[in-house]
């Protein structure tokens, strides 16, 4: 099963990025083979719709589960229609979150924020 996580650095010891759509990189990780690769987030400099574009990348890479601290409404629509489950991350490193998912300690993300639409604070 392939999962994805927005990350601050290209390392399993990195922190999870607090933003989904504006994260610098995405980690793609296979829970069975433990293979991983990173992708620069092409949505990071978007004027708007960064969440939609980022979610599109996640869906296009055949991801089944996204781990993220937060996620916007539009990205949620793209992800849920693409049958990607969204789990809320816990404080800690990327590796700790992968372990938490494996031991079923993470819960599904349930609150999705409104878009900033150019009013990002």
């Amino acid at each position: 099963m392939k999962i994805a996580i927005p990350v601050d650095d290209k390392s399993l010891e990195s922190n999870v990025c607090p933003s989904f759509g504006r994260a610098p990189y995405f980690l793609f990780y296979n829970m069975i083979t433990k293979e991983s690769y990173y992708l620069d987030n092409s949505a990071i400099a978007s004027q708007g719709g960064a969440g939609i574009k980022a979610a599109q990348v996640i869906a296009d890479h055949g991801v089944k589960v996204l781990l993220t601290p937060r996620c916007g409404e539009n990205a949620e629509v793209v992800l849920s229609k693409s049958e990607v489950l969204i789990y809320k991350t816990i404080p800690g490193t990327v590796q700790q979150n992968i372990d938490a998912l494996a031991s079923e300690e993470l819960v599904l993300l349930s609150d999705f924020h409104k878009g900033f639409h150019g009013h990002e604070k």
Binding site: S46, Q47, G49, Q56, A59, D60, N74, G115, H117
Partner: protein, 292 residues
């Protein structure tokens, strides 16, 4: 004055709300023999509250929103890849439109080889036109929740059969897209400034904007008190012409906050705004043509 002011477009702007744009705009329009007042502050237009125009006519403002005919869509994804606003996602081999992110540019319909994207009118606001004594009043209203007032401002400033009348354009606050759209065709920009340090910061924003647009400009100092005026100091440091001063006057404040047009009720204020208008028109005459 009437002949000289023929067809001049004067934009009134400031870096923030509450400096007195509408006070200046409404009164400049009122003291002219005949004028057109155009409220481009479409998110919160309030000039009409002063003018209380009669014989009001309404017109919808629409934008073209894309609509997908899924029976024609081949799922080629060209539209999704084209959209620079990320307003389209590709889900289950079909595109999906996010209307709140769409900047209706028409690009997706343009690149669609199957002609599966149609453009349907969506109403985003309205324009009201009415008459208040010698002033024709145009007001733009952007409906709540709509993204951009630019299409409404474009329509407000379209050429009409009132070409030879003086036009006063009451701009939105700030220096962003909607303000740029409002001053684009103006012959002269009047910057309204408050006598505070914060006021100087806001004045500087619009000062930079009018320079960028290569517009002739001058400043009206509002809420003037005894003592030092930081905005006046800024003007003298930057050689910005001061067109006039409006006192920080409790009677003016009271009348204005009750929705009265002060120049219609008092000779003193009528004189103040008449000489301001006269000054602006003289400034315009001295400027070479600015609109190519």
């Amino acid at each position: 004055m009437d002949m000289k002011s023929k067809g001049i477009k004067i934009a009134i702007l400031s870096g923030k709300g509450g400096t007195g744009k509408t006070l200046v705009s409404v009164n400049l329009a009122s003291v002219a023999d005949k004028a057109v007042y155009i409220d481009c502050d479409v998110e919160e237009p309030n000039g009409h509250l002063f003018f209380e125009p009669e014989d009001v006519e309404y017109a919808d403002v629409t934008v073209k929103m894309p609509e997908i005919d899924y029976s024609l869509c081949s799922g080629c994804r060209k539209c999704v890849d084209f959209c620079r606003f990320n307003a389209l996602a590709f889900i289950g081999e079909k595109p999906m439109i996010f209307e709140d992110v769409c900047h209706p540019c028409g690009g997706c319909a343009f690149v669609c080889s199957e002609k599966a994207i149609l453009e349907a009118d969506r109403i985003i606001g309205e324009i009201q036109k009415g008459v208040s004594d010698t002033v024709t009043v145009y007001t733009g209203f952007l409906y709540t929740g709509e993204e951009s007032g630019v299409p409404i401002i474009k329509k407000l400033l379209e050429s009409r059969n009132d070409e030879d009348l003086l036009k006063i354009i009451d701009c939105p606050p700030g220096s962003n897209c909607v303000v740029m759209e409002s001053i684009k065709d103006a012959d002269y920009c009047v910057l309204v400034a408050e006598p505070t340090v914060f006021g100087v910061h806001n004045l500087n924003m619009v000062y930079e904007l009018v320079q960028l647009f290569n517009k002739p400009y001058g400043v009206v100092l509002n809420k003037c008190l005894e003592g030092e005026n930081p905005s006046e100091k800024f003007c003298s440091e930057h050689n910005i012409p001061i067109l006039g001063r409006i006192p920080f006057d409790s009677e003016l404040g009271r009348l204005n906050s009750n929705g009265a047009i002060v120049s219609r009720g008092s000779q003193e204020f009528k004189d103040l705004f008449s000489s301001l208008l006269q000054k602006v028109i003289e400034e315009v005459q001295h400027e070479p043509a600015v609109n190519p």
